[in-house]
C-alpha cells in the first residue's frame, strides 16, 4: 500500500492551528510562549496547548511543539521548569535544533523529539548523530534534494520530513545572524528582521535584492515524495494568515489524495492545486533544491513584493445554526458580494453579506479586527475572500 506523507502545517495561533486541522493538515506545529522561533506569532499558552492536543487527537491528528531556538545559557534557566510544566500535556513531539534543548526534553518529558530544519541537517552522518541522541524524526535542510532525502532515509531508517511549501531562508537555516549584528535581534531566537529581503548596493554600482528568495512550492513533486517514502511534508508560515494556512493545507491534502486515489488525473489535480496555491500571498514560486540545487531562478533579484489574487477578509470563529461569528481582517461592506471558502468547498463560492453587531444592531460596514454576526450558517473556519 502506498504511504501518504502526512501534512505538517503551521499553527501560529490557536485559531490557525485549528483551521489547519479542519482544512486537511495531519499535524500542526505550534510555538509556546517561550523557546519558540516565532516571537511575533500568537504563541500558545498551556491551556491552549492542552485544548489543541485534545481537539487534534479527537480528529486523529497530531500536535508538535516547536522549541527550536538556539538557546543562550540564560535561556536554559527556565527550561526545565517549563518542560516539567508542560510534560502532562499530550503533545506528540517537540521540535528542537539545539543539542542542549534536545537533552533536556528527553530528560524531563515523555515527548518524542524531531530535529528542526534550523539544525541544517543535510547528510547521513548528521542524521545518525541526532538518531543516536534520541531524535525520532529529522526535518532535513531545504538544501537537500528529494533524492538525497530518500537515500538518507534508506541509510538510517530515520523518519524524514521535508519542506514542501512556503517562504525560505536564503541561507542555511540557523546559519544566519545578520539580524543579531545589525538590529540586536537574534535570528535564531525568534528575532529575525529578514535582512535578506533588503536591497543591497554592490561596489560595482548594481543594486538588487541579492538574497531575496522566492517561496517554495513543491506540489508537482508529490509523486516523487510518495515514491521515495517521505514521511511528512511541512508547510512554512506560522506568521502567515489563516487564509494562507487553510489554502495550503487544502491544496496539498487534495493533491496528495488525488495522486494516490486517481493517479491518471494527476496532471489536472496538480494544476488545480498549483493555481489554488497562487491565490494566497506569495513572493513568486520556486521548487528550490527539491530536484537540483537552487539556482538564480530561485531569487527575485529585482522585486521584493507580494502577489495574490484573493484578498482575505475574515473567518468564521464560531458556527451557529442560522448565523455565525465572523472575525474580520479587512473592512467589509454589508452589501458586498464576497467569496466563501470552506473545508469542504471545491472552489470559493459567492454569498451576499448581511451582518449585525454583537449587540444586535444592523451594520452597513465592519472594520478590521471586529467580531460581527454573519447571517449565514457557515461552518467553523470558513474564510471570506474577495
Amino acid at each position: 500500500m502506498t504511504q501518504r506523507p502526512s501534512i505538517v502545517a503551521p499553527g501560529g495561533s490557536l485559531d490557525k492551528a485549528l483551521v489547519a486541522l479542519h482544512y486537511g493538515a495531519d499535524a500542526v506545529y505550534v510555538g509556546s510562549d517561550q523557546f519558540s522561533l516565532r516571537k511575533s506569532a500568537h504563541n500558545l499558552n498551556r491551556v491552549q496547548l492542552n485544548h489543541l492536543c485534545q481537539t487534534a487527537h479527537g480528529m486523529k491528528k497530531k500536535v508538535y511543539l516547536a522549541l527550536n531556538i538556539q538557546a543562550h545559557h540564560r535561556d536554559m534557566a527556565g527550561l526545565t521548569r517549563f518542560l516539567t510544566d508542560i510534560s502532562s500535556i499530550p503533545l506528540d513531539a517537540c521540535i528542537v535544533s539545539d543539542l542542549g534543548i534536545l537533552t533536556r526534553v528527553l530528560d524531563h518529558t515523555p515527548f518524542n523529539v524531531h530535529v528542526s530544519t534550523q539544525a541544517s541537517v543535510l547528510n547521513t552522518p548528521a542524521v545518525t548523530l541526532w538518531q543516536s541522541l534520541g531524535a525520532t524524526r529529522v526535518v532535513l535542510a531545504r538544501e537537500n534534494s528529494l533524492e538525497e532525502a530518500a537515500a538518507i532515509k534508506a541509510d538510517t531508517g530515520m523518519a524524514i520530513e521535508v519542506f514542501i511549501h512556503g517562504a525560505m531562508c536564503s541561507s542555511f537555516s540557523g546559519k544566519c545572524t545578520i539580524s543579531n549584528v545589525t538590529s540586536g535581534r537574534d535570528a535564531n531566537r525568534g528575532g529575525c528582521v529578514q535582512s535578506c529581503r533588503h536591497a543591497y548596493e554592490l561596489d560595482n554600482g548594481d543594486t538588487h535584492y541579492t538574497m531575496n528568495s522566492k517561496d517554495l512550492m513543491g506540489i508537482e513533486h508529490i509523486p516523487m515524495m510518495i515514491q521515495y517514502g517521505i514521511d511528512a511534508v511541512k508547510i512554512e508560515g506560522r506568521m502567515k494568515s489563516i487564509f494562507y494556512v487553510a489554502n495550503a493545507c487544502q491544496a496539498y491534502q487534495r493533491a496528495l489524495d488525488a495522486f494516490i486515489n486517481t493517479p491518471d488525473d494527476w496532471d489536472n489535480a496538480c494544476q488545480h492545486g498549483s493555481n489554488q496555491l497562487r491565490t494566497a500571498s506569495n513572493r513568486g514560486f520556486t521548487d528550490a533544491s527539491l530536484i537540483q540545487p537552487a539556482d538564480g531562478a530561485s531569487i527575485s533579484y529585482d522585486w521584493n513584493g507580494y502577489s495574490n489574487s484573493l484578498e482575505f477578509l475574515g473567518f468564521v470563529k464560531h458556527a451557529g445554526s442560522d448565523r455565525c461569528l465572523l472575525e474580520t481582517k479587512q473592512p467589509i461592506n454589508g452589501t458586498d458580494t464576497v467569496m466563501v471558502m470552506t473545508p469542504e468547498s471545491i472552489h470559493p463560492t459567492p454569498i451576499t453579506l448581511a451582518f449585525e453587531s454583537l449587540s444586535g444592531q444592523r451594520m452597513e460596514q465592519a472594520t478590521p479586527h471586529q467580531h460581527v454576526w454573519l447571517h449565514h450558517p457557515l461552518p467553523y473556519g470558513s474564510i471570506l475572500l474577495k
Binding site: 543562550h72 543539542l99 536564503s170 549584528v181 535581534r185 535582512s195 472575525e327 449587540s359
Partner: protein, 392 residues
C-alpha cells in the same frame, strides 16, 4: 606567552606567518573549505613545508555538506594521501564527528565557532560526541565564557580574538548566479544594505556557497582586562582575504598584547581598521542582550494572563476569552497594549448570542462584555486576576 592559531589560504602568507609564533595553522583547501578567499590548491610538498611553521597543521572542513560532497571529500583525502599530512580537522557540522573518525581515525577534531553552540548543555552534548576542542561561538559574552570553562574544566576551548565575523552562510550562490557562468569562480563584493546606510558588508561567493560578513571586524585587543582571564586559551586570528599588513599586525599585536602600552595597542588596532577598512569592535564579547529588551515589555512578567481581549470596537461589545475557569465573583484587570488598565467583574460577562450571564465562565469560550465605557478596553489587552482572588 599567548598561544595563537591562524589560517593560511595562499603561499604569499607563508613569510608573514613564519615570522610569528603560531601554534596551530589552519589550511583552507578548495575541495572542502567553504571560505577559501583564494581557492589555492596546495600540493602535498607545500603542505609539508607548512608543517614546519607551526606545531599543528589542521585542515579546514568548515562547511555543511551533502552525502555527495562527503564522498568527494573522502575520495580526495584518500587519493591525495592527505591522511598523514594533517594533525586534525576543523568542522562546523557536529554530525561529521563519526565520519571523520571513520575516515581519519587519529585526527584531532575541532568544532568551529559557526556550529552555533551557545549554552553549557549543548556544549556538553557536543563534547560527548567525541570532539576534542571547540572555538567558542562569537555570540557568547566573556562572563558566560568564564562559566563555560568552569563547567568544563577539562575541555579545550579556543577564543576568536581578531577578524571578520560570518553572519550568513548560504548554499545558493547569489553573486555567481547573477554574474558568472564559471562555477569555479570566487566573487568578492562590498555591499551596502540600502536600509542600513553607512555600513559596509562583505560578500564572498565561492563554489560552496555565499558568505556574508559583518560590517565590522571582531577585535578584542583593547579589552585586555577581560581577555586577561582567557590568556591560557588559544587565540584565533582570521586574516583570510586581508592584506599582509593586516595579518602581520594582528599576529604581532596578540603575541605581545600584555607587554604593550594602551597607546601602542590603540595604534595597532587603528592600523588594522585602516588595513581592512572596517571598524574594530568587540561584537558580543562584552555583552549580548539580543532579544532580551525588545519583546514582552508591555507585560508584567511576574503575572500570568488568564485571558485576552479578542476585539473591541466602538459601537459593539468587546469580545474576550479566558484560559481557565473563573469564578463569578472574580474581578478581572485588563492591561491594554498602551499599558492603561481597567477592571470589570466576571458578572458583567454575557453569552455571545444571548443577553444572559453565563452559568460558568469556561476556558477558550467567547464572551461579550457590555460595559459602559468601551474605550477603556482595547483589542489585544491581556486579562489578569486581581490579586488574592479567583482562579480555581
Amino acid at each position: 606567552m599567548t598561544v595563537l592559531t591562524t589560517y593560511i589560504d595562499h603561499p604569499d602568507q607563508v613569510n608573514t606567518v613564519s615570522c610569528a609564533t603560531v601554534s596551530t595553522l589552519i589550511v583552507d583547501m578548495p575541495f572542502c573549505s567553504v571560505r577559501s578567499h583564494m581557492g589555492h590548491d596546495w600540493t602535498n610538498a607545500s603542505l609539508r613545508q607548512l608543517r614546519r611553521l607551526s606545531q599543528t597543521l589542521v585542515l579546514n572542513m568548515d562547511g555543511l555538506y551533502t552525502d555527495a560532497d562527503l564522498a568527494i571529500m573522502a575520495s580526495t583525502i584518500r587519493h591525495r594521501e592527505l591522511v598523514d599530512i594533517f594533525d586534525g580537522v576543523r568542522i562546523q557540522d557536529v554530525g561529521l564527528v563519526k565520519w571523520v573518525q571513520t575516515h581519519w581515525p587519529r585526527q584531532h577534531i575541532h568544532l568551529n565557532a559557526e556550529t552555533g553552540l551557545q549554552n553549557q548543555d549543548s556544549i556538553r552534548t557536543a563534547l560527548n560526541t567525541g570532539i576534542h576542542a571547540m572555538t567558542l561561538n562569537h555570540d557568547i559574552p566573556y562572563n558566560e565564557i568564564a562559566a563555560i570553562r568552569n563547567a568544563h574544566p577539562d575541555a579545550s576551548f579556543e577564543l576568536y580574538v581578531q577578524g571578520p565575523i560570518v553572519i550568513q552562510y548560504a548554499r545558493r550562490r547569489f553573486l555567481h548566479h547573477y554574474y558568472s557562468d564559471d562555477s569555479r569562480s570566487i566573487i568578492k563584493r562590498t555591499a551596502r544594505d540600502t536600509e542600513l546606510p553607512g555600513r559596509l558588508f562583505s560578500f564572498l561567493d565561492t563554489p560552496f556557497g555565499h558568505i556574508m560578513f559583518a560590517h565590522f571586524h571582531r577585535s578584542l585587543a583593547q579589552y585586555g582586562s577581560k581577555l586577561n582571564a582567557f590568556q591560557s586559551l588559544p587565540w584565533l586570528i582570521d586574516a583570510r582575504g586581508e592584506s599582509h599588513e593586516y595579518l602581520a599586525t594582528a599576529l604581532n599585536l596578540y603575541t605581545h598584547l600584555f607587554d604593550m602600552t594602551d597607546d601602542a595597542i590603540g595604534t595597532a588596532v587603528s592600523q588594522l581598521s585602516i588595513a581592512c577598512d572596517r571598524p574594530q569592535k568587540p561584537g558580543f564579547f562584552l555583552s549580548n542582550n539580543t532579544d532580551y529588551d525588545w519583546r514582552n515589555t508591555l507585560v508584567n512578567p511576574t503575572l500570568t494572563p488568564i485571558g485576552r481581549v479578542l476585539s473591541s470596537k466602538k459601537g459593539t461589545h468587546p469580545v474576550v476569552e479566558f484560559y481557565d475557569t473563573i469564578s463569578h465573583d472574580a474581578t478581572v484587570v485588563c492591561t491594554n497594549p498602551d499599558q492603561t488598565t481597567t477592571s470589570f467583574s466576571a458578572r458583567d460577562l454575557r453569552q455571545l448570542d444571548e443577553d444572559t450571564m453565563p452559568d460558568s465562565v469556561d476556558p477558550l469560550t467567547l464572551y461579550r462584555l457590555p460595559i459602559q465605557n468601551r474605550s477603556t478596553i482595547h483589542a489585544n489587552g491581556r486579562l489578569f486576576p486581581v490579586q488574592n482572588e479567583i482562579i480555581q
